[in-house]
Symmetry: C2
Subunit: 342 residues, 2 copies
């Protein structure tokens, strides 16, 4: 069964996102930051983080748990440590405020970190680590979420899907960008599979009764598993610690207690680290890393992380967007009795 | 077939290691640092990093590629960045010199890193990250090695077994410690399996002809695979970048070009990062993390990383060591014509 799609230009995607957000109480600055994140996801072919997320963003605004007018506050704790109170807003505005001082400090001292608190992160992680890499720095970030993932060997969820992002800068080229859930599959992908009636690989998760299943809808009711057995589970634990107590925020299981369990994201923390290879190494390694990446690219069957997105990005034309999704968003945008008045 | 073992006290293990190293040209300071690393591995039941490594350490000294009298030099690049020239010595002495300033800087500024160069790392990573955690800091470290691991989807090796270590501090308790190769299995474990004639799980690696095999000896001649498919492969890539160009050192494939291909380790870099959760978060999260770890521990079938080692550590008694290995080491120690005269 082919899914019906409609072609939208990137400008149309941005406008649809922004106007829908504005209609539901987000201010200009927040709407633009979120619309930009959504549009870059569609541009790069990362559809599970594109317009697909708009209904969730709107649900969060409608329930008033997320403040669409949030103005983040940045505290400089030491010359290299920043704490960003996202003021219960969505993450893109927190990044817009905190990345510039983070990047400046890392360029001067070699390392810098920002602890983002009280943020609703509902997007991929590559936008923020790519921005860090575009400044010639290595970016590393982690986020935790609601407790949907059981540790290796167990059936009780304790981890979020716990993504991590990592970007390595390349002079004059797109950075190398890793962005992966430490869950076997991102919940966004499981949701897409459930919506479209596709099976997921065995090992993705367990049903509510603790059985392995390929039915995405059953896994949404049950529990996800980490990727890669006990090693992937250890990485999920690391992400849980970095995104929670490292930044003064909640563990996924604590996040759940404070959430209203609607369809939007839950409030939590984000850890972002920027590192300067030039300062650490004492030299410019661009030629050395270019040779390595060329060698890697020459291996049949291997693919550099982020390369597919960067290739999709070259296409400046329209994107084929799920027609039912566009209809849903337009109804959200045009159905005025649903508007939250500030 | 039961392997023949001999009981050795921890003091005897230390003495056997130290006197053997001294006999082969390592000085007092280096011999003690290495013997300490080897003994703590045996103490914790991490036998693939215990006395099992001594013949390799000695091979490195005998071939003169490793300097057993190395005195590392530390350069402070910025208030939080250190570069440690390990002077072609084994890693334990580089850690002994570089961890104290690293820890001090991280306690003052919130983050600090050391780029270790020209080091021969032939041990587990938990000793160094545990020391950082014992100072109340989070430790993260990576090392690359010789190109033994193919990226996901390929059959040509480009990654080292690329371990990463991570430790989270706990007040008055052992830290949580992750120490894992990003290869499906550490080469040390594959070597043990080959020695003892044990099979390894399918997926561990490919034979020289590119076929999946459970024969550890065939994999040593072929190529290892990363853990966890393309996600584990991405983590292996991250470790490769952090351990090479991030610290001004070689990629695994470059390391191989400069190595004499004997049985000892190869020279390379190490990235070590120390981070203060207290400074980043603005609070003490010990009670919060204790509650999380208790919750985790209550999940049937789940195990906290490092817990098995810490339990083994409680036993102050002798350790059962492979008898043939002890004989090999004693011959190395007592066979005077093999001694390198300084």
């Amino acid at each position: 069964m082919a899914t019906s799609t409609i072609d939208l230009s990137l400008a149309d995607i941005y406008d649809l996102a922004k106007t829908t957000l504005l209609k539901h109480g987000a201010n200009e600055e927040n709407s633009e930051a979120i619309a930009n994140t959504v549009t870059t996801a569609e541009r790069d072919g990362s559809i599970s983080h594109g317009l697909f997320r708009i209904p969730g963003y709107i649900t969060g605004l409608k329930s008033k748990k997320v403040d669409g007018t949030a103005k983040p506050e940045i505290e400089q704790v030491t010359p290299i440590i920043f704490r960003c109170d996202a003021k219960s807003g969505y993450a893109p505005i927190a990044h817009q405020y905190s990345l510039p001082p983070l990047i400046d400090a890392a360029k001067n001292f070699g390392l810098a970190a920002v602890a983002i608190q009280h943020s609703y992160h509902f997007a991929a992680l590559w936008p923020e680590v790519e921005k860090i890499a575009e400044a010639g720095l290595v970016g590393l970030t982690t986020v935790s979420y609601l407790p949907w993932v059981a540790p290796s060997g167990g059936t009780t969820p304790i981890f979020g899907t716990n993504p991590m992002g990592f970007a390595w800068p390349r002079a004059g080229k797109n950075p190398i960008v890793i962005d992966m859930a430490t869950a076997s599959m991102a919940m966004g992908e499981v949701m897409i599979a459930a919506r479209d009636g596709h099976e997921v690989p065995l090992g993705t998760g367990l049903s509510a009764s603790g059985e392995l299943t390929t039915d995405a809808a059953e896994i949404i009711k049950g529990v996800l598993l980490p990727f890669g057995g006990h090693k992937g589970s250890a990485i999920a634990l690391m992400v849980e610690l970095l995104s929670g107590p490292m930044v003064g925020e909640t563990f996924s299981y604590e996040t759940q207690k404070g959430d209203n369990a609607n369809e939007g994201p839950a409030r939590g923390g984000q850890f972002i680290l920027a590192m300067s290879p030039d300062i650490l190494s004492g030299k410019n390694s661009n030629d050395q890393t270019d040779r390595f990446f060329e060698r890697y690219d020459a291996i049949e069957g291997a693919r550099l992380p982020g390369a597919r997105r960067h290739k999709n990005r070259e296409d400046k034309g329209p994107r084929a967007v799920n027609a039912a999704l566009i209809e849903t968003i337009k109804q959200l945008r045009d159905n005025s009795e649903e508007v939250i008045v500030e």
